[in-house]
């Protein structure tokens, strides 16, 4: 499994599309000057811009890497040679996944460092109203990475059954979009006005989706990082366990599906 992780990482670093996506991180250079347009919250705005840029780059990486790794292996017939080695399919899938997951953490480390530099520059020029909470900023970036690792797991699982990259790419994007709002929908459905307006059947269906789709809202700690709002340690711990459980479920389903897949 380790060697599969290693060649996965090698493959990502040598990929030109990855290099193109990472070139987007050049935008960090412009963040302090764009943020200075703010009237009252230059540091907060530069934190917002930095975290959003990280989020955007990682979304691209997650969808691109998660959706194309398995799909490309099958499409380019790499699977014939690799899966005829004494490697079980689940080992292969999990090795691929771990390689990408580790890469996402490395990317978070790299992008996070760039973000910290640009936030620091902004805060030196225009000190924020409240002292920066570096712990919240770093935690927010780490949880962002975890969120996109879930997206990777989802898109890889979709790729195990798909013959084209449309399902993994657009499926992952849709599930990501839906995952960021499930909590809002859930909260809305529990308001009295919704109880009256929405039929019971739709509420049931929404509830099923709420438990089925990843709840990515919990991984979004941007507000805490931007406005230096203290984090809830217990909540973070719960979110971490949720991450492990959800990823575990998705990857197990992926492994089961991949084991049944025929390599024509």
């Amino acid at each position: 499994m380790l060697s599969i992780v290693r060649i996965t990482l090698k493959g990502i670093f040598r990929d030109r599309i990855f290099q193109g996506i990472m070139a987007l991180s050049l935008f960090f250079v412009f963040i302090p000057s764009v943020a200075s347009l703010s009237m009252r919250q230059v540091t907060e705005l530069s934190t917002t811009l930095s975290l959003s840029l990280i989020s955007f780059i990682m979304l691209l990486l997650a969808v691109f890497l998660g959706a194309t790794s398995i799909w490309k292996d099958i499409e380019r017939r790499y699977t014939f040679s690799v899966l005829s080695l004494p490697v079980s399919r689940s080992t292969y899938l999990v090795g691929r996944f771990l390689g990408i997951a580790i890469f996402m953490l490395i990317a978070a480390l790299f992008l996070g460092s760039a973000a910290i530099v640009s936030i620091k520059i902004a805060s030196l020029t225009y000190p924020p109203a409240r002292p920066l909470l570096w712990f919240a900023i770093i935690t927010s970036i780490v949880f962002d990475a975890l969120k996109y690792i879930i997206v990777v797991a989802v898109s890889m699982t979709l790729a195990t059954v798909s013959t084209s990259f449309f399902l993994p790419v657009f499926g992952a994007i849709s599930i990501f979009m839906a995952g960021t709002v499930t909590q809002q929908v859930f909260d809305y459905l529990h308001t009295p006005s919704a109880q009256a307006a929405v039929s019971a059947a739709i509420r049931k269906a929404a509830l099923v989706l709420y438990y089925l789709l990843p709840n990515l809202g919990g991984f979004d700690l941007k507000v805490h990082a931007i406005y230096a709002i203290p984090l809830n340690t217990q909540g973070l711990l719960l979110t971490g366990v949720y991450f492990l459980a959800y990823t575990g479920i998705v990857m197990s389903v992926g492994a089961l599906l991949f084991a049944r897949r025929e390599m024509k």
Binding site: I7, K10, Y78, S81, L85, S88
Partner: protein, 303 residues
């Protein structure tokens, strides 16, 4: 225990409009250890399907396949085998050296041994110069040779090669034949598919012919060769310029003092008796036979 064994192996694919296509119909095959087996068949006959079933890439609709007694559905079955897929493709961002090392590590090879073996096979397949370059820059023949190198690196007992000669130039083909003969000498089992009969004739112990998903013949190559003899072409050199008939057989043509006779198997003894009695010099005897290609074509074209 057979090196490779299939029993009642069937494979159906879903075709268009809910139809089912029988790609393979109840294949029974036993390949012994130390045997070189040629798997002949026209394109689309089911050769690759059979091999993918043996390698566990496809799931059989019915029947079983095994390698060295281990069922193909298990990861363990692939421990003893080197597999070359048809028109292979490997992670093109890796170099040949990296890929061979990766393959060796999957067979849990000890690292110093792996390093030595990697060097051996890369040199053997003439990839040593190119070993550091990413494979995306390789020619088709080079990729094919990487494919062979990765079957050899861990020195397994069984080799399954799908169309090993395709994409190779004559030098490459000669190299592959050489490698197969070398493996045969070292008592390894080689199972390879091809649609080129010439390859089989030179290196195989046995040959199986598959047509439209069914195995139509399995035999030793020497038997096929022997049974295929139809007659002899005898060249005789006369002292006097006059050519004659022997056992009532007339010469096909005469050039100077030599004449050529076509003699059927049944007439051969009588013909040679008369030639001996006349004291005529026998310059050359050629065996006239149907070659493997004719044999193959006759099976394929059978209604």
């Amino acid at each position: 225990m057979k090196a490779i064994e299939t029993t009642g192996l069937c494979k159906q694919f879903k075709g268009k409009k809910m139809t089912r296509v029988d790609a393979l119909k109840s294949l029974d095959l036993q390949i012994e250890k130390g045997e070189v087996f040629g798997f002949l068949g026209p394109n689309g006959a089911g050769k690759s399907t059979t091999i993918k079933l043996i390698m566990g890439l496809l799931k059989p609709t019915a029947g079983t396949a095994s390698i060295m007694g281990k069922d193909s559905s298990t990861t363990d079955s692939r421990r003893q085998v080197g597999f070359l897929p048809e028109n292979p493709a490997f992670y093109d961002y890796l170099s040949a050296e990296e890929y061979i090392t990766f393959v060796g590590s999957q067979f849990s090879m000890e690292s110093s041994l792996l390093k030595r073996r990697t060097e051996d096979v890369l040199k053997r397949l003439d990839l040593w110069e190119a070993r550091k370059r990413p494979m995306r820059g390789y020619s088709k023949g080079m990729v094919q040779r990487v494919g062979l190198a990765q079957t050899l690196v861990h020195d397994p007992d069984v080799y399954i090669l799908d169309e090993p000669m395709s994409g190779l130039d004559p030098i490459g083909r000669a190299l592959v034949k050489d490698i197969i003969l070398d493996l045969k000498r070292r008592g390894k089992c080689v199972f390879f598919s091809t649609h080129i009969t010439d390859d089989v004739e030179k290196v195989c112990d046995r040959v199986g012919v598959i047509v439209k998903g069914s195995l139509v013949a399995v035999d030793r190559v020497e038997n096929i060769m022997r049974s295929g003899v139809e007659g002899y072409l005898v060249h005789l050199r006369f002292q006097d310029s006059a050519s004659r008939n022997f056992a009532g057989i007339e010469p096909l043509r005469t050039a100077g003092s030599t004449s050529e006779f076509y003699v059927s198997c049944s007439a051969f003894n009588a013909f040679m008796g008369e030639v001996n009695a006349a004291g005529v010099e026998v310059a050359l005897v050629e065996t006239k036979r149907r070659d493997l290609e004719d044999f193959f074509l006759s099976l394929v074209n059978k209604p």
